[in-house]
Amino acid sequence: MAKLSLSDLHAIREREEKNLRKRDIHGRNVHVVVAMGTSGINAGAKLVLNTLAEEVEKAGLDNVIITQTGSAAPNPEPVVEVFEPKKGLVVYGSVDADTARRIVSEHLADGRILEDKRIELVEKEQ
């Protein structure tokens, strides 16, 4: 077997670290996505993202991963999507800091969907 060079070892380590990160993401069974396009930020999505992060941290919800996506227009922003295996995809619109706290305490922690804030996602017309 040929000897591996230092750069080969670095390449292998990088590849394995990437694979490890992918497995780690897949191991989380609840995925929260915040729409952080220009219109979302203008509507307060950054505050919503920070509130979700703070509440998930406080509640110690280790199975939740939070990520971002682009604009959700023409839907009422800020928009938050929650995906979990049992309930599937649930989308919330016009989310503010209070709603973000409820998403964590009611939906993520207790499994109760916030029907009053739920929306049907409308695709942007091409």
Binding site: M36, V64, I66
Partner: protein
């Protein structure tokens, strides 16, 4: 209306959408002003007025980000070619949006790989990059890591804000 930290977020998103693998942002908080510089290695086609609303190389319905930067900075902005790629610079009054530094930086370090941010205040500064956070398991996208991220920011902030 976007605050200054929102504009930094827009600028970083703009770089990422341009395919940048490396994004270096500098935020200078001095003399009641905020100066932001974002350099990336993305591929742009510079237009005659890239700050014009709707001016974009990214397709129909895009191109609000740079127009927002211009509006929010009363025109104190420019987009140029740098050593590594494209440089966006803008300057506006300090609106206090970087006082809660963890909240300003969390969306950036949560999402973007290859990002580094330097915060400079008067003669002090620190630089934080995504690799540093990854090595400390502090990329703020899940419980545990969010707390570690905040602790790191708090410690670094103490060094330059006093």
């Amino acid at each position: 209306m976007h605050d200054a930290s929102d504009l930094l977020l827009e600028a970083v998103a703009n770089s990422a959408e341009a395919g940048a693998c490396s994004i270096e942002a500098t935020v200078d908080l001095s003399g009641g002003m905020i100066s932001i510089r974002v350099e990336d290695d993305g591929s742009y086609t510079l237009r005659s007025d890239p700050f014009q609303d709707g001016s974009t190389t990214k397709g129909e319905g895009r191109g609000r980000g740079l127009a927002l930067v211009k509006d929010s900075c009363s025109g104190r902005c420019r987009l140029t070619r740098g050593e590594r790629g494209t440089v966006l610079e803008f300057r506006r009054e300090d609106d206090g949006s970087f006082d809660a530094l963890d909240k300003a930086l969390l969306p950036i370090f949560m999402e973007y790989e290859g990002i580094s941010v330097t915060i400079r205040k008067d003669t002090r500064e620190f630089t934080l990059d995504r690799d540093y956070l990854e090595k400390r398991d502090a990329v703020p996208d899940r419980a545990g890591r969010i707390g570690r991220f905040r602790a790191i920011i708090s410690s670094l902030k103490g060094e330059i804000y006093g």
